[in-house]
């Protein structure tokens, strides 16, 4: 099962490699990892998506928590949270196909960033599944390149 962890870590060199190294060294399955500085320049937020059964996931959380540079770790798998991923997709688009692709892009609220002689670059944001779906729909035209950001997440605010 897919799990999402959000962490606040020290903004030091090598922190990302400590985390990635923990996954590779212990044979855990890491699907994506994103990092970006927070409003405090000394703190980075890392969102990672991993796979594992309950026992493995419990170990992953404990091992991450044990890293000295990890300040806070939140499991967002079950908690109410917003998850977003961004993808840039370059699709083969002859002039005759463009209109059709624009329509599809519209449905997915994808933005067209660049139009070339025989290709388009689009930006699409959303949950990972939405990006999968969009990629599947434009696949028949021919995806020339795709770059996905990996998931970023934040917890929703308290409602009560």
């Amino acid at each position: 099962m897919k799990r999402v962890l959000s962490m606040l870590v020290e903004n030091h060199q090598g922190v990302l490699s400590r985390i990635a190294g923990l996954f590779s060294g212990r044979g855990y399955n890491l699907e994506s990892i994103t990092a970006g500085v927070t409003t405090d320049p000394q703190i980075t937020r890392i969102t990672l998506v991993c796979q594992g059964d309950d026992n493995v996931f419990a170990q992953i959380k404990k091992q991450l928590h044990k890293l000295i540079d990890v300040i806070k770790l939140t499991d967002l798998t079950e908690s109410p949270a917003l998850h977003r991923e961004l993808a840039l997709i370059k699709v083969r688009a002859r002039a005759s196909d463009r209109g059709e692709i624009f329509q599809v892009a519209d449905v997915f609220r994808a933005r067209v960033l660049d139009v070339g002689l025989d290709s388009l670059v689009m930006e699409v944001t959303g949950a990972a599944e939405k990006i999968d779906d969009f990629a599947a729909v434009v696949q028949p035209y021919g995806i020339l390149e795709i770059a996905r950001s990996g998931l970023i997440s934040v917890e929703r605010g308290k409602k009560q």
């Binding site: 870590v9 000295i68 300040i71």
Partner: protein, 580 residues
């Protein structure tokens, strides 16, 4: 007043009360060694290999409870510490290791003697640092000492670029630091402790499972009181040996692959396994599906990672072993478990540890180790890894905490001798003995020079069987006796398939007695039973020189009991033919 980074480092060492620094110089650490020159507060122990320096710091730390400190140069100096750091990391030993690094502007350029040691040691240290700003140096050194010795202790590496070490900066060494991502829990949860006490009260077949955490936490005293109060018997992991005196009636000995019969059976039949400071390592548990099948499990450990990793735990208690046991102690009462104790006594008499009969043609390891134990019952004993280690664990009865120095987790051959050197420096009044194999002693034999130069009367008892004995034992038992690359006598004249040891075997290399003499140490060879004790006694008389004793033992003597790899711990062999 501004001082150089080296001077700040030396100041920090003095404030941390570091008396011994184990090290080896090289290009980029010359400024640091220069700052250490003629400083009587810190004795620099020049080893002959950086691996020896880390193991010595490790033996010093394990035997004294204080942090061991090393200093080596960049590149090969730093990479030579890797095995020592991994050894200490596995067994939770507090070490601060300073490595030199090329100047900051050279980093990443493949400069001479450059290695990314922070990257290399990331998974084998508790934490590590590359100091990129002179202004951070004091804080980082303080953090390193704080991390190494607190929580679950471990090695911390600090990589020091040579220009940082040369740079002038402030002279401040902080008295304390707080690290926001690091808050080890030491006090146990009161509710969990009550549950654990209640479980002990209810249990009919309770058993303590003592781990190395008891020594590390300084918990042996309270643990002994808890055992005395409850009357519950104790099995130990390899690292837990000495938690209870080895001759205590409730001490069942080690559990696991080479555990005692009564220990492995007691674990298998217990209804409450009360583990303190242990990892449920695979060498202790054997096949997990057959491990303590009927037992509820209580587990005290300072590292949450160790809890419920291999074995699901019903009552986990995160905390320092000593603090938690002190919280637990007042809640305990004597356990009424006479039938259980009688059952255990039955197992004990059914398969006691084998004693080699007197008058055998060749020496046997059990006879030698029992003699060492009789003559030096209060010793600090280091071991190498392999048969020598298991025989020591089985036959030497440890009376004191922090007295067995052995590489349990990583299983590092070559650990014992340098560790004994460190232990002797930290415990000048105690007898320190390294029980070694003829294979593993050769992995750090160069440290004889260190021991001689520092006048350390460490006794090295080599159990010389001419084999890498433990691997040979596995080959004998599980690989149809094909002794591939395990005979240390193998020469060009040997046939491709060995018919077994005999008079035609090549002469053994090296001659350990001559080797000892070449180094200026004392060397003895013992091949007769009646010489064992006199030579051991004479060795104990040495005050300033290390003593190496080459005990020529039966070549194919094995460690029993043994549980085959992958089997349950109750499925024990007592001899070459299998057994139960």
């Amino acid at each position: 007043m501004k001082i150089s980074g080296s001077e700040l480092l030396v100041k920090a060492l003095v404030e941390e009360k570091v008396q011994h620094l184990f090290g080896f110089p090289g290009g980029v650490v010359i400024p640091i060694f220069d700052a250490l020159y003629a400083r009587p507060e810190i004795k620099v122990i020049l080893t002959r290999h950086e691996q020896g320096a880390v193991h010595a710091a490790d033996g010093y730390a394990r035997s004294t409870g204080r942090t061991g400190v090393c200093l080596v140069t960049s590149g090969p100096g730093a990479t030579n510490t890797v095995t020592g750091l991994a050894t200490a990391n596995f067994d939770s030993v507090p070490i601060v290791c300073f490595t030199g690094q090329v100047a900051r502007h050279m980093i990443g350029n493949d400069a001479f003697q450059e290695a990314d040691i922070v990257g290399i040691t990331r998974p084998i240290t508790k934490h590590n640092y590359l100091v990129m700003e002179r202004q951070d140096l004091g804080r980082i050194i303080k953090e390193a000492f704080t991390l190494a010795s607190s929580g679950r202790p471990g090695p911390v590496l600090v990589d020091l670029p040579v220009d940082v070490v040369r740079e002038l900066g402030d002279a401040e060494y902080p008295a304390s630091v707080s690290i926001r991502g690091y808050n080890p829990v030491t006090k146990g949860h009161a509710g969990q402790i009550r549950k654990a006490a209640h479980a002990l009260k209810k249990a009919e077949r309770p058993l303590f499972y003592a781990g190395g955490g008891i020594h590390i936490a300084g918990a042996a005293e309270v643990f002994r009181r808890v055992v005395a109060r409850t009357g519950v018997p104790v099995v130990s992991s390899l690292m837990g040996i000495g938690s209870l005196p080895g001759d205590h009636p409730l001490d069942l000995g080690m559990l696991g692959m080479h555990g005692t019969y009564q220990s492995n059976l007691a674990v298998t039949h217990s209804d409450l396994l009360f583990a303190v400071g242990t990892r449920f390592d695979d060498r202790a548990t054997g096949d997990l599906s057959k491990f303590a099948p009927g037992a509820a499990i209580v587990h005290i450990d300072i590292d949450p990672v160790s809890i419920s990793r291999n074995v699901p735990v019903g009552i986990p208690i995160v905390g320092d072993a000593r603090t938690v046991l002190e919280q637990l102690e007042p809640l305990l009462a004597p356990c009424a478990i006479q039938p259980w104790l009688e059952r255990i006594a039955g197992w004990r008499s059914e398969h006691p540890l084998a004693v080699s009969p007197a008058g055998r043609r060749l020496l046997t390891p059990d006879t030698i180790i029992r003699a060492i134990c009789d003559l030096y019952p209060e010793a600090i004993v280091a071991t190498e890894v392999g048969q020598n280690q298991m025989w020591t664990a089985l036959f030497y009865r440890f009376r004191h905490s922090r007295s067995l120095l052995t590489s349990g987790g990583l299983g590092t051959m070559g650990y014992g001798f340098p560790a004994a050197i460190g232990a002797q420096l930290g415990n000048p009044g105690r007898k320190v003995i390294d029980i070694a194999g003829d294979g593993s002693i050769q992995m750090n034999i160069q440290e004889l020079a260190t021991a001689v130069h520092h006048g350390l009367p460490v006794i090295v008892a080599i159990l010389n069987n001419g084999y890498l004995g433990m691997v040979r034992q596995w080959q004998q038992l599980f690989y149809r006796g094909r002794y591939s690359s395990t005979c240390l006598m193998t020469g060009t004249e040997c046939p491709p398939s060995c018919p077994g040891p005999g008079d035609a075997c090549p002469v053994y290399t090296p001659d350990f007695v001559k080797l000892a003499e070449a180094y200026g140490a004392l060397g003895y060879r013992v091949a007769q039973e009646e010489d064992i004790r006199p030579v051991l006694r004479e060795a104990g008389q040495s005050r300033k020189k290390p003593v190496l004793i080459d005990f020529i033992v039966e070549r194919e003597f094995n460690v029993f009991p043994m549980v085959a790899p992958g089997a349950g711990i109750m499925e024990m062999m007592f001899g070459e033919e299998g057994g139960r």
